[in-house]
């Protein structure tokens, strides 16, 4: 279709209006506010940022975000990969996949309630109603506060919820890619006497690499945005806070818009590599 004057702007206008006023403009304002005090009245330079890197609460949040980024995408993608490959070999594949995929339809809040109950604690003299502590006591151990013990037990307990939700997503995408690999290729390797492990490691995995990268990137983005799970399960207590929850607290509990904005900018900066990768990949493909 040839261009016909300006009519394309009619199609673009609603989108540009919304994107401009709801995403671009606020982003610039937030950047600006991050250099001001709690009430956005006085310019204070980099003080909000300095506080993020010196104050204990935000340092813990930074540490936890880092912990999440290291542990969660790796575990979620590996589990998804394992499922994609193993489920391919059983008869009721679709059914099994649905079971794993199901949590994706559930909200983080719903999942939070589900898992809060899994981690439930009652004092040792009473029967345990949370399944994890029931297993512990059945094995002769004392029940523990899964969401209390810091920093490993409770943070891993929270990560487990995320993994429970998102492993299905990774599985679906990796499974599609795995099924896209030519069967002949795998069979040829089998006739050459390679065992299943070697086939997976030397044939399938290299071919899946691009997909794994995409999925891992997506998981990293979601990990950085994680808020609800922590909000529902621990509210950031006991050393479990992450940046998104800290920002919410600064904004709504302490009404410190400067500090909250600075935290938002840090989250954005952490995501910047992903944004750059996306834009570059787009440019490589389309930009002529």
């Amino acid at each position: 279709m040839r261009t016909r004057g300006w009519s394309h702007w009619l199609y673009l206008a609603p989108a540009l209006l919304v994107l401009g006023s709801y995403l671009v403009y606020p982003t610039l304002v937030t950047l600006y506010l991050s250099f001001f005090d709690a009430r956005s009245a006085q310019y204070i330079g980099l003080q909000n940022y300095a506080r993020i890197f010196t104050q204990e609460e935000t340092l813990i949040a930074l540490r936890n975000n880092l912990l999440w980024i290291i542990v969660v995408p790796a575990l979620t993608v590996s589990l998804g990969l394992l499922m994609a490959v193993v489920f391919d070999r059983v008869r009721h594949e679709a059914l099994a996949k649905s079971a794993i995929f199901l949590p994706m339809a559930i909200s983080f809040v719903g999942a939070g309630v589900i898992w809060k109950f899994v981690y439930a604690y009652t004092p040792p003299i009473y029967p345990q109603i949370g399944i994890l502590n029931a297993i512990r006591t059945a094995l002769g151990f004392d029940p523990i506060g899964w969401l209390i013990r810091s920093p490993w037990v409770n943070n891993l307990a929270l990560m487990a919820v995320f993994i429970w939700i998102w492993a299905g997503y990774c599985m679906i995408i990796l499974s599609a890619a795995y099924k896209g690999i030519h069967r002949d290729l795998l069979d040829a390797a089998r006739t050459d006497g390679a065992n299943e492990w070697e086939i997976f490691w030397h044939v399938a995995l290299p071919m899946l690499r691009p997909t794994i990268l995409v999925v891992a990137t997506t998981m990293t983005v979601f990990t950085l945005k994680v808020f609800d799970i922590i909000y529902v399960l621990t509210n950031g207590n006991f050393g479990t806070e992450v940046l998104a929850d800290r920002m919410y607290k600064e904004m709504f509990h302490f009404h410190n818009f400067g500090a909250a904005s600075a935290i938002a900018v840090i989250i954005l900066l952490a995501m910047l590599p992903v944004i750059v990768i996306n834009v570059r990949r787009f440019y490589a493909k389309e930009g002529r």
Partner: protein
């Protein structure tokens, strides 16, 4: 031997994934006295207890705790918040896909960049403006916010989908003198129904399951709060009344689960399309 190992692994994984949800379902129909005294799994193996199972917990959360109203609020929020962005992004994607104009690539690149913009970057300025113009706590306000957050990904995916439509079809229609609008309305949109459906489902689930955006732009007052906000309130208010919390959680999950189970194919397609972005 190998088959057995595979089947065993699959069985264990599936079991592991289902147990938490099963616990939720069972607990939500147990009476309070049982819930605080014994684990939910004891009910499964004790037929004597089956007679005591009850829907009272659901009645209580829906009628007395206002989850019914919240469910309605969620519908009022979610349906427009899913349809509005789709309409806007379809229009824009059409322009991006089929109308050459100066700055097209740059604008599209901005949209790609905005895809992973953390919502946190927008909350404070938006809320400040919303408070001034009276949009905070209104449905219109939150529809627009969800629209904005959904747009970048939708524009990009739809644009890719539109571009993959057969060139000749659109060109010949154009030669025949059909207007851009006619082509959009009668060729592009009908051919894109599967893609539109996938995106609609994704956006529906995303909005329905949202907590943070609703907390910030709607707040907790019962006339507007969606199920998730209400559910978080119940978690705070009921502590370890698990029979109520689990019933509430199930109410919040029911609709997404129905949507998911009945439209799983579209859902999966949407996700696969999303994963191929960039």
């Amino acid at each position: 031997m190998r088959r057995l190992a595979s089947h065993l692994t699959v069985f264990c994984l599936v079991l592991l994934w289902l147990i938490p949800t099963l616990g939720l379902l069972v607990t939500s129909i147990r009476p309070y006295e049982d819930v605080v005294r014994t684990g939910w799994w004891t009910t499964l193996f004790d037929p004597a207890k089956w007679a005591s199972l009850t829907l009272d917990n659901y009645v209580q959360v829906i009628a007395q705790e206002g989850l019914g109203q919240a469910f309605w609020n969620s519908l009022v929020i979610t349906i427009p918040a899913s349809l509005i962005p789709l309409a806007i992004s379809a229009l824009a994607a059409y322009a991006f896909a089929w109308m050459p104009f100066r700055g097209r690539q740059v604008l599209l690149m901005v949209a790609v960049g905005l895809m992973v913009l953390p919502g946190q970057m927008t909350f404070i300025p938006l809320l400040t403006v919303y408070n001034k113009v009276g949009l905070s706590g209104t449905f219109l306000g939150i529809w627009l916010v969800h629209t904005a957050y959904g747009l970048p990904l939708q524009i990009y995916l739809l644009r890719n989908f539109f571009r993959a439509l057969p060139h000749e079809l659109l060109d010949s229609a154009f030669m025949d003198g059909a207007s851009r609008w006619k082509i959009f309305r009668h060729i592009v949109l009908p051919l894109s129904v599967p893609a539109l459906a996938s995106l609609l489902i994704l956006q529906f689930l995303w909005v329905w399951n949202d907590l943070l955006v609703a907390l910030i732009f709607l707040g907790t007052s019962p006339e507007v709060a969606p199920v998730n906000v209400k559910l978080v309130g119940l978690v705070g208010a009921y502590g370890q009344d698990w029979q109520l919390l689990t019933a509430g959680a199930f109410v919040s999950m029911a609709l997404p689960l129905i949507v998911f189970l009945s439209l799983q194919k579209h859902f999966v397609q949407g996700i696969l399309a999303g994963s191929r972005r960039g």
